[in-house]
Symmetry: D2
Subunit: 356 residues, 4 copies
C-alpha cells in the first residue's frame, strides 16, 4: 500500500500514439504520479520507448521514459498500479479497460465506455460531482477502482464554454460547427494528401459524440447514474489543415434573454473546483473571453493556460438562436491527455489523497 505522500504508480496504455506521447510529456515531473510502465501494441512491445515512438512533441522525451521498455498490455495486467492512463483505440479499449478497472483507477481518453451508465464522463470544471459514481477506494488501495472517461476532444471545448451559461441562464438548443485539427485523428490519422489545401466536412462518429456526450456531461448525478440534460445539440464537424486546436462556432438560446455584458461576465468570473483545489494541471483561468472583436485563433491561443484554457470571443446576437460566439480548445492537451490528467488529479484530491 502506498502511503499518503508517496507518488502514485501510473501506467500508460497506448503510450506511443499522439495522446500517449502527450501523457508521457505531462507526467514527466508530475508531483503526484510516477510513470512506472508504458504499454503499446505488439509491434512496439519489446523496444525501448524512444525507438518505438515516432516522437513528434516539441519537448524532447523525458530520459527515464525514453529508456523504458515498451510492454504489451497483457504484460501489465499482472502488475500493480494505482492508476492507468489509457490512450488506446476505442476498439481495444472496450475489452482492456474493464479488466484494469477491476483493480485500479482507469482514466481514459478512449470513447469505448464514455456512455456506460456507471462511468463518469468528466470535465473537471464542468461536472466534478459526476465522480461520485465511483465507489470509495477499497481497503489498502489509494484510489477507487473503475473507469473515468474523458469526453471527445471537441465536446470538451463546447461544454467548458457552455458551463457558465448553463449555471447563469440555462438553454435548450445548441448549434455547433467545428473546425478540427488533424492531431485529433491521431497517428497516422489523416493522410497529408487528403487534407493539404482541403477541408473534409465529415469526421467519423464525431457529430454523434458531440450531440450525445454534451447531454451526459451537463446532466445530473443522481442515484448512481447520470440523468442527461435536456438539450438539443446540432453538430457539424469539419477537419481542417491545422496542427492543434479545435475551433467551435456556437449558437445557443439562452433563457431569460440576458444582456451581452452578463454573458461575458459569466465567462469572466468562472472558476471551478480544480481551481479551488489548486490541482497541478488546473489552469488559473479555465475560460478567457478575448473580446467582442477578437476571435480565438488556433495557432495564437491554443496554448493559453498550458493548453488547458478555452478561449472565447466574438459574442454577438444570433438571428436564429439569440446568441453566437466562437470558442477554441486545445484538442490534445485539454481535449485529451491534459483533460484526462486533470480528471485524474480531481479524483485523487476528492478521495483525500492530496491536500488542496
Amino acid at each position: 500500500m502506498t502511503t499518503r505522500n508517496e507518488p502514485l504508480r501510473a501506467a500508460i496504455l497506448g503510450a506511443t500514439g499522439t495522446v500517449g506521447q502527450r501523457f508521457v510529456t505531462l507526467l514527466a515531473g508530475h508531483p503526484w504520479f510516477e510513470l512506472t510502465a508504458v504499454a503499446a501494441s505488439e509491434r512496439s512491445a519489446g523496444k525501448l520507448y524512444r525507438d518505438a515512438a515516432t516522437w513528434i512533441q516539441t519537448r524532447p522525451i523525458d530520459d527515464a521514459v525514453a529508456a523504458m521498455p515498451v510492454r504489451t498490455i497483457d504484460e501489465l495486467m499482472d502488475r500493480d498500479f494505482d492508476i492507468v492512463f489509457s490512450a488506446l483505440d476505442a476498439s481495444v479499449a472496450r475489452d482492456v479497460e474493464p479488466r484494469f478497472a477491476r483493480r485500479c483507477l482507469v482514466v481514459t481518453n478512449a470513447s469505448a465506455h464514455r456512455m456506460d451508465a456507471d462511468v463518469p464522463l468528466v470535465v473537471p470544471e464542468v461536472n466534478p460531482d459526476h465522480l461520485s459514481l465511483l465507489s470509495p477506494p477499497e481497503d489498502g488501495k489509494a484510489l477507487p477502482a473503475g473507469i473515468v472517461a474523458n469526453p471527445n476532444c471537441s465536446t470538451i471545448g463546447l461544454v467548458l464554454a457552455l458551463k457558465p451559461l448553463a449555471d447563469a441562464f440555462g438553454f435548450e438548443r445548441i448549434s455547433v460547427v467545428t473546425l478540427q485539427a488533424v492531431s485529433g485523428a491521431g497517428l497516422p490519422g489523416i493522410s497529408s494528401y487528403q487534407i493539404l489545401d482541403n477541408v473534409i466536412p465529415w469526421i467519423s462518429s464525431e457529430e454523434e459524440k458531440l450531440e450525445i456526450e454534451t447531454g451526459k456531461i451537463l446532466g445530473r448525478a443522481a442515484g448512481g447514474t447520470i440523468e442527461p440534460a435536456e438539450v438539443a445539440v446540432s453538430a457539424q464537424c469539419n477537419r481542417v489543415p491545422v496542427v492543434d486546436g479545435h475551433t467551435l462556432c456556437i449558437s445557443v438560446d439562452l433563457k431569460g434573454e440576458p444582456a451581452m455584458e452578463d454573458v461575458r461576465e459569466a465567462w469572466r468570473t468562472f472558476r471551478a473546483e480544480p481551481q479551488e483545489r489548486g490541482l497541478p494541471s488546473a489552469p488559473a483561468q479555465p475560460i478567457v473571453y478575448l473580446g467582442d472583436d477578437e476571435p480565438p485563433q488556433a495557432r495564437v491561443h491554443r496554448d493559453l493556460g498550458h493548453g488547458m484554457t478555452t478561449s472565447i470571443g466574438r459574442l454577438r446576437e444570433c438571428p436564429i438562436l439569440g446568441y453566437r460566439f466562437v470558442a477554441l480548445s486545445h484538442n490534445t492537451l485539454r481535449g485529451a491527455a491534459g483533460g484526462a490528467l486533470l480528471a485524474a488529479e480531481l479524483a485523487v484530491a476528492r478521495c483525500g489523497r492530496r491536500a488542496a
Copy 2:
C-alpha cells in the same frame, strides 16, 4: 455600332489582382467577348500586363493579353466598350463604376453597389429576372448601360444550394457557417504567417454581406426594384488555409417537412435559364448532389463544371432547424470572375444579342 455577331468589346478594371487574372483567363478565346483593354492601379499602369501582374494562375497568360499595356482607369474613361468587367476594390469601385455605367454595361465583382436599389445582384441560375432592372440598350448600343453586380463569393454558393429548396418548399431560417479559402481575400490578402496552421474565425464584413445579400437575391423584382425575401440568416465566417473553394455548413427549416428524398430530388433535377440558353460559361449541372455519405471537399470538388458547379452532400436531419447539409463552391470561379462572366452572358442573351 457593333453588328449582331461581332465580338463585344470588353475591358477589365483591376486586371492584375486574383479576380482580374481570372477574368483574363476566362475571356481568352471567349466566343462573344473580345478583351480590348486592361486597367489597373497607377503602380501598374504603363507596364505590359505580363510585367504588371504577379501571375499565379496555372494556365499561362494568353499571349495577346500578356503584351497589352496596362492602362489607368482614367485612360479608359474616354474609350468605347460594350462591357466592362470590374475586379476593383470596393473603395475604388464606388466612384468609378457609376461613371462607366452611364455609357456601357458594367459587370462587377465589387461589393460597392450590390445593395443599390437599381442594381441587380445576380446569380444567373437563381434570379435571372432581376436583370429586368436594367433599361433596354439605347439606340446604337449593343448592351444596356448600368451595373450588374456579382454577389459575395460565399453568398453565391449559399443561394445556389438554396434556390431549388426555395422553389420546391420555401424556408424562413438559415444558419450557415463558412470555411473560406484564402483566394477570397485577393492579393496580397491574408498573410501566410497569419493563416498557416491556423483558422481565423472572422472575415471583415463577410457575415453582414451573407446575411443581407441572400434576402435580395432570393427576393422578387417588382416595380423597378427588388423586394427582399423574408428570411433570417445567421452567418459565421471562417478563413481556413485552403487555396480555393468555400465550404458551407448549412441548416435550414424547409416548409412542409419534405422527405429527404424529395430534397435530394430538388437538387438533382435543378436546371435554370443559363442551361436552357446554353450560355458559354454555364455548367451542364449547376448543382451536383454527391451523396449522403460523400462530403464535398474543396480540393476534390471545386473544379467540377469548370469551377461553376456547386457540390452538395451529407443531407441529414438537423435537431434545430430540420435539415442540414454541406455545400462547396469555387470562390474565384463561380464566386467571382466566372459568376460575373455568366451574368454578363445572360445579360447579352436576354437583350437578344446572341441566340440560345
Copy 3:
C-alpha cells in the same frame, strides 16, 4: 491475337492507390489502350472500383471503371493482357511483376526491378533506345514481354533537365536538393500531423535512388545491358507540405564552360523521340525554360503540358560547380503514371504497332 488497330488490352495492378488512380484517369479514353481489369489488395478485391478506391482526383472516376469489380492479383494471372500497368508497392512488385512479364509487357512505377540488368529504366525523352533491351514480340503477341520501369519520381525531373545538357556539353558532377510533394508517398503516405507546418529532410531510400538511377538512365545501352554514365550525384531529399510537384535545386559542372545563353538554348530547342513520334501522352514541349528571374513553382507550373513538362528557371553561376538552376516536375503525372504511360506508348510505337 489483336490486330494492328484494335485497342491493346490493359490491366492496372495496385489500381486504388494514388498512382493507380492516376493510371485510371489517364487511360480513360486513351486511343491505344483499353482498360479491361483492375487489381488491388485482398482488402479491396470483390468490391466495385468506386467503393474500393478513396478517390481523390479532381476529375471524377470514369463511369466504366467505377463499375468494374476489383480483382486480386492472382485472379489476373490467368487472364490475357497485352500490357499491365503496375502501381504496386515495391515489396509486392518484386515477385508479382516477373510473373506477368513472362507473358506480356509490364510497365511499372515500382522500384523493385529498376536496377535489374535486363530491365530498361526509361524516360522516353531521355533514353528511348534503352527499350532495345526488350526482345521483339513473340509470334501472335502485339507487344514484347518483359518489364519496363519508370524511374523514381524525383529522378525523372532531374534527368529530363539534364538530358539536353548531357547532349550538348556533358558533365561529371551533379548536386541536387529536392523539395518533394506529399503525393509522392502515396496513400496513406505521410501523416498530416507530421508534415503540416514542417519540413522532413529525409525520405526513405530516395537519395540512394536518385544517385544510382541517374547513372543508369544517362548510360548507354550496349550488348543487352546498360553501361552507366560516369557521374557523381549528391542528392539530399526533403518532404514539404505541398500536394503535387517536386522542386529540384540543381548544380552541375558543365564541360567546356558554355555561355549561359547556350545552356538556355539547349533546353529551349530540346525535342525528342516522343515528340517526333507524336505519342498521345507526349507534351509538345518536354522542357520549358521560364526565365532567369522566374522560378518554377509547384502549384503554378506543375500542370504545364498536362503535367508532363519539366519547368526550369533561374539559371545562374554556381561558385562550386559552375552552373545552377531550379527544375520542377509533376511527381504523379510525369513522375509516375504519366511517365509510365508515355514509356508504354513508346514501346508500342517502337515495335510498329502504331504509326507516328
Copy 4:
C-alpha cells in the same frame, strides 16, 4: 548616467512587426534591459501598442508594453537610451540607425549596415571578438555607441553549424540549399495565396546575403576591420509553407578528411563565450547533434533551447564535397530578435556592465 546594476534603458524601432513583436516578448522581464519606448511607422504612431500591433505571438503582450504609446522614430531621436533594438526595414534602417548610433548602442536585425566595414556582424557563439570593432563607451555612458548587426536569419544557422567545423578542421567550399519559413518575410510578407501548396524557389537578395555574410562572420577582426574568410559559398534559397524554422541542407569540404565521429564530436562538445559568460539568452547548448538517422524538423526542433539552439542531423558522406548534413535554426528567435538580444547581452558583458 546609469549605475552598474540599474537596468539599461532600451527602445525598439519597428516594434509592431514580427521581429519587433519578438523583441517585445523577449524583453518582458529581461534582467538587464528595461523597455522604455517603442517606435513604429507613422501609421501606428499615437496608438497604444496593443492597438497598433497585429499581435501574433502565442504569448500575450506584456501588460506594460500593451499600454505604451507607439512613437514615431523622430520622437525617439531626442530621448536618452542605453540601447536601441532595431527591427526596421532595411530601407528605413539605412538612414535611421546611424543617427541613433552616434549616441548609443544600436543592435539591429536590419540588413542595411551589415557589410559596413566598421559594423560587427555578430553571432555571439561564432565571432564574439568582432565586437572589438566598437570603441569603448564614452564617459558617462553605460555602453559603446555604434551599430552591432545581426546577420540574415538563414546565415545564422549556417555559421553556427559551421563554426565548430571551422575551428576543428577548416574548409574552403560550402553548398547550402535552404527551406525557409514564411515568418522570415515579416508581416504582411508572403501572401497565403502564393505559398499554400507551393514552394517558391527564390527569395529576394537572400542568396547574396548568405554568400557574402558567411565570409565576414567567419573572418578575422584585425586593425579595426574584418578580413573575410576565404570560402566559396553556393546558396539556393526556397520559401516553403512553414511558420517558423529554416532548414538548411549543407555540404562542405572539410580539410584533412576527418572521421565522421570527429565531426559529430566537434558539434557535441561545442561551447562558446555566451555559455561561459552565462548570458541570460544563451542556450545551454548552442548546437545539438540529433543523430545520423534523425533529421532536424522545423516544427519538432525549432524551439529547442528556447529557439536559440541549432539542431543538426544526418551527417553523411557527400560524393561532391565530402560531408553533408542538415541543420535547423529558428529564424525569428535565434535568427532575429533572440540572436540580436544575445549579441546585445554579449556587448554589455564585454564592456564589464554585468558579471558573468
